[in-house]
Symmetry: C2
Subunit: 477 residues, 2 copies
């Protein structure tokens, strides 16, 4: 079912009004996890509540506990939940977004004050401001959809449940508990879910995102002498923890990114024909990644292999060493105990546990081969499972049709190389198909200075979210 043409026309005709809404939202510096902005985050939640009420939703601000910032205990930003419609004949769509933002200061190098939405005076259509694309723009997309339907006197084609949090930029503390506790209450009866909190791969091609890599973070701890030693006095007499650490960490991954830990490759789910086609169809040029990276240092000369390296395959990165000399200059220390840090990005069917078992076994075996008298410990300091959704689910097919209708383009089917933990929480706790439907472009600079959203993405994004609802409603599954 195509979107109601009146809706699309309303969005086109009311662009300034919709941009003004975004300007209001950006003007509230809702930086989470910072004592100076606690009141602003609260104000932002309240602004959202008032907006949603005015647009006809039933809304609640729900407290989710306390946390400590800079030594002071304060309330966590509330979760704002809202609902429009409860017709049992309609599908029920759950959407998520966040109303908090990353910190931003003009002196960091912003061209314009970060908390004043600024239209690019050069006419590019870019709207600069903190939160413009992450994630106020997409959240307001939903508000814009409600606005249009209310003003046009139209019913929504689906029941809409909304869950907006204010702690996404600081680890979504307690959100999982909230989802769990509301599983059979607010979240009851939801058919599928849509999250708009990631980005197109490039600047031209809309995409649907159906996977996220997980991540296991490890420390290899090697303890030797009782204290740091001077290499002049003890060099050549003792087993040095650094030598052991380099020997082991050099055996984890090859310079061309092949993970050497026995058994990990065998766990990777085979690539299906459907997956391969989706990767081959992605609009992506090697030049794009070289530009993003800032140097011609890609492992593969082939764009599909590069995409799969980022999205479909595990990767292992060495991050650093704690306890060794790390300052400028020349210090002749033999560090007594060091922690080497590395992480592995997980993809199906690698799990936190299966990978950790293999890592510990491999590292311990490699250490034994060294014949060192030092002590070794391998520790998983953080684990996050990978996630993948069925990209042929009716929700994805609806988003596919909506993208074609709004943009006249076939969407890329992408996966994110990094993690978006809330996705897993919703998917796993509620047992839902989750669609990641980005609104902004790959160059929006979500956590950087000069964050922006293009006017066309904000306006077409609003149309996309609305059209997706109509396509969802039309689905017979």
């Amino acid at each position: 079912m195509a979107a109601n043409p009146q809706f699309l026309k309303f969005v086109d005709d009311n662009q300034d009004h919709l941009i003004d809404r975004l300007a209001q939202a950006v003007a509230i510096p809702s930086v989470s996890g910072n004592l100076s902005y606690v009141k602003d985050v609260e104000n932002m939640a309240e602004w959202l509540v008032q907006q949603l009420k005015a647009l006809g939703a039933t809304v609640e601000k729900r407290p989710i506990g306390k946390h400590t910032i800079e030594g002071q205990e304060v309330d966590l930003p509330p979760v704002v939940i809202g609902q429009v419609g409860s017709d049992p004949k309609k599908k029920t769509l759950l959407v998520y977004g966040h109303y908090d933002v990353q910190p931003a200061l003009l002196e960091d190098g912003w061209k314009y004050p970060p908390f004043e939405l600024t239209r690019d005076p050069e006419g590019s259509g870019r709207l600069f401001g903190r939160g413009a694309t992450d994630d106020k723009g997409p959240v307001l997309g939903w508000l814009n959809v409600l606005d249009a339907h209310k003003q046009l006197g139209l019913e929504l084609p689906v029941n809409l449940k909304m869950c907006f949090e204010g702690m996404e930029e600081n680890g979504s503390e307690n959100l999982d508990k909230f989802i769990e506790s509301e599983k059979d209450k607010f979240f009851a009866g939801v058919d599928c879910m849509c999250i708009s909190d990631n980005y197109w791969l490039d600047t031209k091609t809309p995409c649907l995102t159906y996977g996220l890599r997980g991540v296991n973070y490890y420390e290899i701890r090697i303890n030797g002498p009782g204290r740091d030693l001077h290499s002049g006095v003890f060099g050549g007499t003792v087993h040095e923890p650094m030598t052991d650490l380099f020997a082991i960490m050099s055996k984890l991954v090859t310079p061309d990114g092949q993970i050497l830990i026995t058994g990990i490759k065998d766990l990777i789910a085979p690539v299906t024909e459907d997956e391969r086609k989706k990767f081959e169809a992605i609009h992506f040029k090697l030049r794009d990644i070289e530009e993003a990276v800032g140097a011609p240092v890609t492992i593969y000369d082939d764009s599909i292999q590069t995409l799969m390296g980022r999205m479909r395959n595990p990767s292992l990165s060495l991050h650093g060493i704690e306890g060794a000399f790390s300052a400028p200059g020349s210090k002749t220390v033999i560090p007594a105990s060091v922690k080497g840090k590395f992480s592995i990005r997980l993809v199906p069917n690698l799990t936190i546990k299966s990978v950790t078992d293999l890592v510990i076994k491999y590292v311990e075996e490699e250490f034994k081969k060294l014949g060192s008298k030092n002590k070794l410990e391998v520790v998983l300091t953080h684990g996050g499972e990978p996630w993948i959704a069925d990209p042929n689910h009716y929700s994805y097919r609806a988003a596919h049709r909506a993208t074609e209708a709004v943009y006249g383009q076939t969407p890329d089917y992408t996966r994110e190389g990094g993690s978006i933990p809330v996705t897993l929480d919703f998917a796993n706790i509620l047992g839902l198909n989750v669609l990641l439907l980005p609104v902004g472009r790959g160059d929006d600079g979500a956590h950087s200075i000069n964050e922006k959203i293009d006017t066309s993405n904000y306006i077409n994004g609003t149309k996309l979210l609305g059209t997706y609802m109509y396509e969802l409603a039309a689905s017979n599954e």
Copy 2:
């Protein structure tokens, strides 16, 4: 020629007086390289000048230029030069010491105020205080010798030239230039040299030290992406500088300390029969090094191999990485450019240049094998040549006899694993045999809290230096 018995008796009979002299010296907090103590360092030089004058030496304070401390330009501490006797029939001995000390604060954990010489109340005979052993005690040993001879109305058996500096703890800035400029003036006519600024290997056995390892410090710099990357987004797509760095640095040295850089082993001078015997004769138990290191992590179970590992063979230590993640916690960064730091301790016949040529060649070849698109640079950031003296020179033989006379023990012949750069400056610029004749014990804690010298070492050390002069005078070479 045995020392004059009157001299030895004087030292025994005047212990309190000699210890009082050390207390006076320790009371002046002559911490070099620290703006707050500039005046104290000057006072210490002046105290030394007055003492030497009173003991019959001709003395001069010589300015050696300026340096900048904490942004302020100040005079370098003067070199104090003194002389007693100029009889062309006698040998002329040059001695060196330093009157500056390491920083020390009671709150660092000292048992007693660091700038008040404190006799151990438990009766061990230890004299605690900053500089007690490094290097005020040994310097005062020479003053004590002069004191005894003056009070007894005895002539010194040699001509004595003294050179005491106040910047040893801060790199002996400009001392090399001073030596060079005075080569044919103050330093003219010197036959041999004695420096007391190192320590016995253990706590029981006097030693003569005839070698020092040099040190070359290197950085392996690897540059990849234009900026730090997020491992979620880019892990698996680019050549990571950290992976390259670990691959290379793991190929420099084995966990049991064998240097893998091609050609370095071939440069090591073969061990002579005389050398081997000297190593075999050293009083040293593996337990000693395990205690010093604080854990049973020695490479060798054999004490001679351990000693040669420390003194006779080159060693390679990995010190750390600049530019990588080094803090506690878990950061998923792909560092864009990193500097791996390592150093190689040099022994005859390894030179700064020959080793550097081999290091650069080897590292560049190993890097090529990786097939990485990143950029590599290998840089020598500091170089110091190794030094070895002829331990059968008459000066060493004189010290050997003096040690037997004072301690009733055969001295160990040791080498230091670390560097004492002034030794090379004197040896090379003046072309002298330099004897390193330690006064303090291996557990004196020169740069630590609770630095001490044992009363017996201070008193016997004074006798040793005096007796060495007599033995030197008796030598016919």
